[in-house]
């Protein structure tokens, strides 16, 4: 057991070993160690390593936050506006899902938007209709994103009306429930805030861990 304790004591930081190593070995020689003393030594070595390296995570957090913010500032601003539509499908299950997607594709086919800028997401199960459809369009300004989303929504509703006027049924009905919003912040702002927030959060965590350890050890 004493040999195991000496091996465990080698896990302490080198500078600590130089200062306290010999007297720590003398302590081990004098005591009758048990398993819990081995665990205690291992935990002590781990805490000592963390407290000695405290500057490293703090520096990493600050550098990470600054680099993340700088990278996000280099990105072009992208604003995303979204709108919500209630969708009713006559079909069920997989068939209903296909009907909805076909109807959306047909409606958006006429738009001049970059297809990569449009995101269409279905929320819910088509066989548990009605489901919610989220239409989101990205642009380089908040107003342009909102207008593009309004146009996309208009196309979807218009396609639905044309089908209804012809007396046909596509099996899908759309009803707008929330108009296109004016985005308040761009994705670049969100990325920058996430980078800074993550860095500061890590910094606060490291400070709490080191602070609580120091308090415990000295009282």
């Amino acid at each position: 057991m004493k040999r195991l304790l000496r091996v465990a004591s080698r896990l302490y930081p080198r500078a600590w070993r130089v200062r306290y190593g010999e007297e720590f070995d003398a302590l081990i020689d004098e005591m009758r160690p048990r398993w819990r003393d081995l665990v205690n030594t291992l935990v002590g070595a781990l805490i000592m390593q963390i407290s000695r390296l405290a500057l490293l995570p703090v520096a990493t957090a600050i550098i990470g936050a600054v680099v993340g913010a700088a990278i996000s500032l280099g990105m072009p601003p992208v604003y995303a506006s979204s709108s919500w539509v209630l969708v009713q499908s006559a079909g069920t299950s997989v068939e209903g899902d296909q009907r909805i997607r076909s109807a959306i594709d047909a409606a958006l086919q006429e738009t001049a938007f970059d297809k990569k800028a449009i995101a269409v997401r279905l929320h819910g199960e088509p066989d548990l209709a009605p489901v919610l459809l989220e239409v989101s369009v990205s642009a380089d300004s908040a107003r342009a994103a909102q207008q593009a989303t309004e146009r996309a929504m208009g196309k979807i509703i218009e396609a639905n009306l044309i089908v209804a006027n012809r007396g046909q049924t596509s099996g899908v009905q759309f009803r707008a429930v929330q108009p296109a919003n004016l985005p308040q912040s761009s994705e670049r702002d969100t990325a920058r805030n996430s980078a800074i927030g993550g860095g500061l959060g890590f910094l606060a965590g490291a400070a709490i861990v080191c602070g609580s350890h120091r308090r415990r050890s000295t009282t």
């Binding site: 070995d25 070595a45 120091r214 000295t218």
Partner: protein, 88 residues
């Protein structure tokens, strides 16, 4: 640990035994030397010259002041608690 050193210098094992006797707390070697490291860094204890491998430590003036403050705080809590228990 500071209370253990209050009546004179001691080395690590002696502190360990003393703390167990007067406080009923068993200090592991990692806990003991973690505390010794911190207390020395804060200037509350100092190593004493010794030819032995076992390094004795003594409490400093700053350590005594800190110990007095901590014990005074604890004493106030103990006296208040006992008084309220008697009144209840």
């Amino acid at each position: 640990m500071l209370a253990s050193l209050a009546d004179g210098e001691k080395h690590g094992y002696a502190i360990m035994v003393d703390v167990q006797e007067f406080a009923g707390v068993e200090l592991g070697p990692g806990t003991l030397y973690g505390a010794i490291t911190r207390l020395e860094e804060r200037g509350f204890i100092k190593p004493v010259q010794s030819g032995d491998r076992r390094q004795p430590y003594r409490i400093t003036a700053a350590g005594k002041r800190y110990l007095e403050e901590e014990l005074s705080g604890l004493d106030a809590i103990v006296r208040t608690g006992l008084r309220r228990l008697r009144q209840a």
